[in-house]
């Protein structure tokens, strides 16, 4: 990505926690039977005396999108605001914000052109107190990512929760005509970049445990072999070239092993590979198709797909005793693409419903129940959890073309983050990384 937060110096972190009252106040409240999020006003960023510049507008959009994505906030419509955004942070009249129903307020000012200085401050409107105050200095390009860190710190200050997704990336494949691109974008779709481009098939990307590399399958030699590419240097290395399929790598949390699907002995099975020695341990032994491994957060289990019952269903195996296999889904006839959630609570998967529609579902590992996330919105596939488990990314063709979408667990907040010229498919959410360098 090579986007250097060159001058990124956070001058001051004046986290005024309002006498300790702010913590855990970010719980939604119930009003008229509906859950209402924390209402927050995010007036336009001010740059050179107004809010209309390209950089100011882009940063305003980023902040509002981030606040919305967290699920904690209801971002107020700025057309209702009575106080001009140009009023300096130290001259704010909080009554003006109480009248528009704001509980919180974020003020932001930019100075200079390149590098740019950015000052952001969040207030508790009722108390008229500062919650978070930060200053950033970076190149005009890198400063665009500053709101991600600010929102992450704001949620941390208000709710005591670290939303890792605010510093993460999403990888996916984009197919356009005969060209395949392995794409990497920030979690909000910004800075989408082709890391590998090929006229041969590229498919099924998966992140390394530290988020510095992507595993993917390419037909460079005509056969589906597994490679890894370093995100920064874009150096490609061969990981596995056994006869047959070499695909579907899922990184173990220890960073030393991957689970993958090989068909070197004729039938698709799941193997464990030590990345340093390339030594293999076979985990499944079944005449059926076994594929699509996804490691549990503790590395002890692997969710996978098998058609050993006749139709594809979601199973899990225990790495220390791989003969112990447990079937998870028993509804439907066609369940695929499991993704083991980072909090160990859910396994997300693609299921086909009684109308033959493909949608995102969740299997609750404790309650052993299935809930539906997407419905009546085209074909939705390939869910992948954000590193904090609060969101999922998936592909959807609801606009007529496959794009990349993000949803919360409940499925009532779905947002498109990427729609390119080609078909964007098979997204994979990275672990927490630093996206500003």
């Amino acid at each position: 990505m090579g986007l250097h937060f060159k001058y990124a110096v956070v001058f001051a972190l004046l986290t005024a926690l309002c006498g300790g009252t702010a913590h855990a106040q970010l719980k939604g409240e119930v009003r008229d039977g509906a859950l209402v999020a924390y209402a927050i006003a995010a007036p336009g960023f001010v740059h050179g005396g107004d809010t209309t510049g390209e950089l100011a507008r882009s940063l305003t959009d980023t902040l509002r999108r981030d606040l919305d994505l967290t699920g904690y906030f209801q971002v107020l419509d700025d057309r209702s605001f009575v106080e001009a955004p140009t009023v300096p942070a130290d001259k704010v009249n909080f009554k003006n914000w109480l009248t528009v129903g704001a509980k919180g307020l974020v003020k932001a000012t930019l100075t200079g052109t390149d590098p740019v200085e950015l000052e952001m401050q969040a207030f508790d409107v009722a108390g008229g107190k500062s919650i978070l105050h930060k200053k950033y200095k970076a190149s005009a390009k890198a400063i665009r990512k500053a709101p991600h860190g600010f929102v992450r710190d704001l949620v941390q200050a208000l709710a005591g929760v670290r939303l890792k997704f605010l510093s993460s990336r999403i990888a996916f494949i984009e197919k356009e005509a005969k060209t395949y691109k392995l794409m990497v974008a920030d979690f909000d779709g910004a800075d989408a970049t082709a890391i590998v481009t090929s006229d041969k098939i590229l498919t099924l990307p998966g992140w390394s445990a530290d988020g510095s590399q992507l595993f993917y399958t390419a037909y460079t030699t005509g056969e589906p072999h597994l490679y890894a590419v370093d995100i920064k240097s874009r150096k490609v290395s061969l990981i596995s070239d056994h006869p047959g399929l070499n695909t579907s790598a899922s990184a173990a949390p220890d960073g030393k092993n991957i689970a993958l699907r090989l068909s070197k002995d004729g039938n698709a099975e799941i193997y464990l590979m030590n990345l340093a020695s390339k030594a293999l341990t076979r985990l499944t032994s079944n005449i059926a198709i076994d594929t699509a491994p996804s490691f549990s957060p503790d590395g002890k289990e692997i969710a996978f797909v098998s058609n050993r019952s006749g139709n594809p269903h979601i199973y899990r195996l225990f790495v220390s005793d791989p003969a112990r296999v447990e079937r998870l889904t028993d509804q439907g006839k066609y369940n695929q693409d499991p993704d083991y959630g980072p909090d160990g609570h859910y396994v997300a998967f693609t299921g086909r419903d009684e109308f033959f529609m493909f949608d995102i579902f969740l299997f609750d590992l404790q309650a052993r129940t299935i809930s539906r996330v997407t419905q009546k919105q085209g074909k939705n596939e390939n869910p992948s959890f954000s590193p904090d488990g609060t969101l999922m990314v998936f592909s959807s063709d609801r606009t007529g073309k496959n794009g990349i979408w993000v949803t919360n667990i409940a499925g009532d907040r779905q947002r498109q983050i990427y729609g390119g010229r080609g078909e964007a498919i098979t997204p994979a959410w990275s672990p927490e990384v630093t996206i500003t360098q």
Binding site: P224, L245, R261, I289, A292, N307, P312, F355
Partner: protein, 239 residues
């Protein structure tokens, strides 16, 4: 309706709650069954929808038997909706759905759709430049269909007649289902075809297997005929 009637209805509704209707939804059943009958000619050309409608109808009947009338009503309505959709598709795609028109156009499934006129009659296993047949599969299946066995027999004869030829069997899936799973499905199909040829006496060493999953469709439309064309195994000579 009399005032008492309304009161009785209200009382029943309260006692019953949302889980149970009063009586079997006969009107909805009749309409759904009629719509399904009208959709029968979509059995092949709109196969997925047809199977869905069939399943809904079945579930609705089960719900009636279980006295879950509200649920049954909803299912009958959904089945009717689905069946109407199939009927509309049949009307707008006469070439695809009418078996007579299909036969005239040489589009019959058993003859191998759109394979450039390749059939057991046109293939000669003595021709060194024989155009290879394409083998098709049912949804989520990798077994060779009985209809395609004669084509494989000719392919085996050709391979026995030209023992120096090395062949790559390429397996493909349609666009439905996951990219990951479909790669295995494509591989299984190619393996199954190779295994059939081995049974007919061809040496295993002459084959290479590769699966392209759903990446290389030959037909781009989203209906059963296109999907059927895409679920295939192809032969490519590699030497």
């Amino acid at each position: 309706m009399t005032r008492y009637g309304i009161i009785i209805l209200a009382v029943v509704a309260i006692l019953c709650g949302p889980g149970c209707g009063m009586k079997s939804p006969e009107d909805e059943r009749r309409l759904a069954e009629k719509a399904f009958k009208d959709a029968l000619s979509g059995k092949d050309c709109a196969r997925e929808d047809f199977l869905a409608a069939e399943e809904l109808l079945m579930k609705a009947r089960e719900a009636v038997n279980a006295k879950k009338y509200d649920e049954a009503k909803k299912l009958f309505l959904s089945a009717k909706e689905k069946a109407d959709k199939i009927a509309a598709y049949v009307r707008s795609h006469p070439d695809e759905c009418d078996p007579k028109a299909k036969k005239e156009k040489g589009l019959q499934r058993t003859a191998g759709i759109d394979d450039g006129g390749i059939s057991e009659e046109t293939l000669s296993s003595k021709d060194p430049n024989m155009k290879f047949p394409v083998i098709h599969f049912e949804f989520n299946e990798h077994a060779v269909r009985a209809d395609d066995l004669p084509l494989l027999k000719i392919m085996a004869e050709w391979m026995l007649n030209f023992p120096a030829a090395a062949i790559r069997v390429e397996g493909h899936a349609d666009e439905r289902g996951s990219i990951d799973y479909n790669m295995s499905l494509g591989e299984r199909r190619a393996q199954e075809v190779r295994d059939e040829l081995m049974k007919l006496g061809v040496d295993a060493k002459r084959f290479q297997i590769v699966s392209y999953g759903e990446e290389r469709p030959v037909a781009s439309r989203q209906n059963e005929d296109a999907w059927f064309q895409n679920r295939r195994a192809e032969f490519v000579r590699t030497n």
